[in-house]
Symmetry: C2
Subunit: 430 residues, 2 copies
């Protein structure tokens, strides 16, 4: 399981979407646009002005103007505020002096993966399937991937380490979305997290904990993030404001542990490595969008929990709508069709009794008016060929119901074909 | 001449600046802050609103809100406007469908260099000295560098190609700042540009033309950019709004030629490669800062020539102030001290009769209160050890006069030491 990810997934989906603009997209894992009115231009100005007023407490007007409009510190401008928000909202023990503000979580991945896996024998461990933002960085930087089979992640890491060692290679990092995984929607429980941390600490594997969806939990108790459970100094925590505020700010963060496996100098060296890499990628994250994020955090008293309430409610309704629609559409259709019930996030995964590939996306869009995401697009091998990812974040409940009904039509037709060809095969075999 | 660039230059200078906050910095090539008031928060809102109004002509309010706040097209949102501005202001034959909006010129370099030099035998040609933003990307992506000695660039390229071929390696790209080079201030004349284009076309070497300073010409007639002279399809033109508007927007662009050495499909494949790489680095450039840039371009009728007039006047005065101060400080001091008279840009280069290294930076800052940039920081070898770069962009005329006078004190002391040690060496030798 060491293939590279399919690189043209986004292009393919954009093309399908533009060829079938009327189709309902259950493919895009975008945040809802229902609450964008809260970020109208005047509100953005208010946020910017609020940040400016705050900055004026400790600097004169010219210095503040310069901070907003000149080249800025590569590591960031609002690290204190982001660190505080992560402590308050996520229980992540973040500190400003080991936090790097990035152009979204994606830049954090683009900086961390090459820094952690510099040598040709270095390997990045990923779940299979996993988010293409991580595998795409690996492919672009010629970093070898090793996919972990589904099931017990800690055990899979242990086995992978042994296998790689026999090959003269080394697992250096594990990319993971413990909460409401993209693409599967699965959550790792606390015991699993602790077991993964133990095995990673033993083998000095850095865990890249991507927590884009953590605040969007719709039921059940929160599980502590791995960064909060980390005692060995193995977790780099990746955060983003793309889902809580807006993807347009392009503001995210990477938080390093206090020590790297007990070594504070090694952590500091890694931090400097990341800062230097960033200076050769984006120089610094836009201080203007940082200031707007900073102003919104000030207005919210440092926490985004209230801000996201209406969004979380919306997503919960969408998830419930999708689960209801799936139940009424597919319950009687086949025993071989199943799906999970994620407690949060934007996605669920669905098992089908037939393969669902790029051609199926086009057929389904053309003839049934719904676009869904083959799980194989996130996979390193053929193991995901009979699964799809359904996103419930960006659509409205009526769209979700119509989309699932349309998917039902496609699936019924495929099942009919399957049974016909099965009968045909049966007849041929006689 | 195939060493890697010194990676910690920026850190070193930041440290020196923070250790000696009262020192005058002739090191930082930042734009002046004198005109930042034009971009106060209200003006930014006006620009955003202007862009919004413009967008509303062809889309409804919800679609425009989505365009500003949702994940956006990876290639950009304001390509049409940037392409038009480059055609009007720089005579660059830019078209939106082969223009990629980037997080400043730096991201364009971070995307282009690995795309053009994917193999271990691929080599990037650079002038020596050259801008560390380019050599830093090469170092971070393990791209081999080959420095061109000063003098005739076309001839140096021809010789380097032959030398590399004997080593089984291939020059794939040439990074160049033809106008007001950073760090030297030199301008390539039209004959030199045409000769470079001819040799690069012959060997299928892509020219990366970085034109951050082109609009800041203070005297003499403009030389056409290489992208305007390019008939073979060899020039990728790199632009940025960091010097014309503000570095805080983090908006720049890469413009591909119509064909890549006559091959339109190859150009299209390169464009798709760059877009895909960008999707794994920053996803897309902030649509909010793009919209502000777009609104400012609308307000200026599509050209930045008027906008930059006061800045260009300021820089011209600064350059003249620096040249006068150099003349009065150093003219009598030594025949071995010289400097160029750049017709534009932010920098000039100065030759000294002694080595000027990192220790010299600290000594000069500590004892004379001025920070300057050793040219060796931009060099691939020892050839630049007796030169410095002086930036006249960010300081005021009184600061420039005081800074040059302080540098004069340091140089006088070094010359005295030199002659003492020369006398000493002379005495020893007897």
């Amino acid at each position: 399981m060491s293939a590279t990810a399919q690189p043209d997934v986004m292009n393919f989906l954009n093309e399908v979407s533009s060829r079938f603009p009327a189709a309902i997209s259950l493919a895009a894992g975008r945040p809802t646009e229902q609450f964008f009115d809260r970020l109208h231009p005047g509100a953005l100005l208010d946020a910017l002005t609020r940040y400016e007023q705050h900055a004026l407490r400790s600097a004169d007007a010219a210095a503040v103007r310069t901070r907003l409009l000149q080249y800025g510190r590569t590591a960031g401008m609002i690290e204190e505020q982001i660190a505080a928000q992560l402590r308050i909202d996520q229980d992540v023990p973040a500190q400003a002096d080991r936090l790097l503000v990035t152009a979204g979580c994606q830049e954090a991945l683009a900086l961390c993966l090459p820094a952690l896996c510099p040598d040709p024998t270095d390997v990045l461990l990923v779940c299979n399937p996993t988010y293409i933002g991580a595998t795409g960085v690996a492919a672009g930087n010629r970093i070898a991937l090793h996919g972990l089979p589904e099931g017990d992640v800690a055990q899979a890491v242990e086995q992978s380490v042994a296998q790689l060692q026999r090959e003269g290679r080394h697992a250096r990092a594990l990319y993971l979305i413990p909460d409401f995984d993209n693409p599967t929607g699965r959550v790792l429980d606390e015991a699993q997290r602790r077991a993964i941390l133990a095995v990673c600490a033993r083998h000095r594997i850095v865990v890249l904990e991507d927590n884009a969806y953590g605040l969007f939990r719709y039921d059940g108790a929160a599980v502590p993030p791995m960064a909060a459970l980390d005692e060995a100094g193995s977790v780099i925590y990746l955060s983003t404001f793309s889902k809580t505020l807006s993807p347009a700010f392009r503001v995210g963060a990477a938080v390093l542990p206090d020590t790297l496996f007990g070594d504070r100098a090694a952590r500091h060296a890694l931090w400097e490595n990341l800062v230097q890499r960033k200076s050769y990628v984006t120089v610094n994250t836009s201080p203007l969008t940082q200031a707007i994020v900073g102003g919104l955090l000030l207005a919210e008293g440092g926490s985004l929990r209230n801000w996201i309430q209406p969004m979380a409610g919306w997503y919960r309704t969408n998830r419930d709508t999708m689960l209801d629609a799936l139940q009424s559409t597919f319950a009687q259709l086949s025993d071989a069709i199943g799906w999970n019930r994620p407690a949060g996030g934007f996605f669920l995964s669905m098992d089908l009794p037939f393969e669902f590939d790029a051609q199926a996306v086009t057929d389904c869009a053309t003839r049934y008016g719904v676009i869904v995401m083959p799980m194989s697009f996130f996979a390193l091998d053929a193991s995901q060929n009979r699964r799809i990812r359904l996103a419930f974040s960006a659509m409205t409940p009526p769209q979700i119901r119509a989309g699932v009904a349309a998917l039902g039509g496609y699936v019924a037709q495929r099942l009919e074909q399957c049974s016909k060809s099965e009968m045909h095969a049966f007849a041929e075999a006689r």
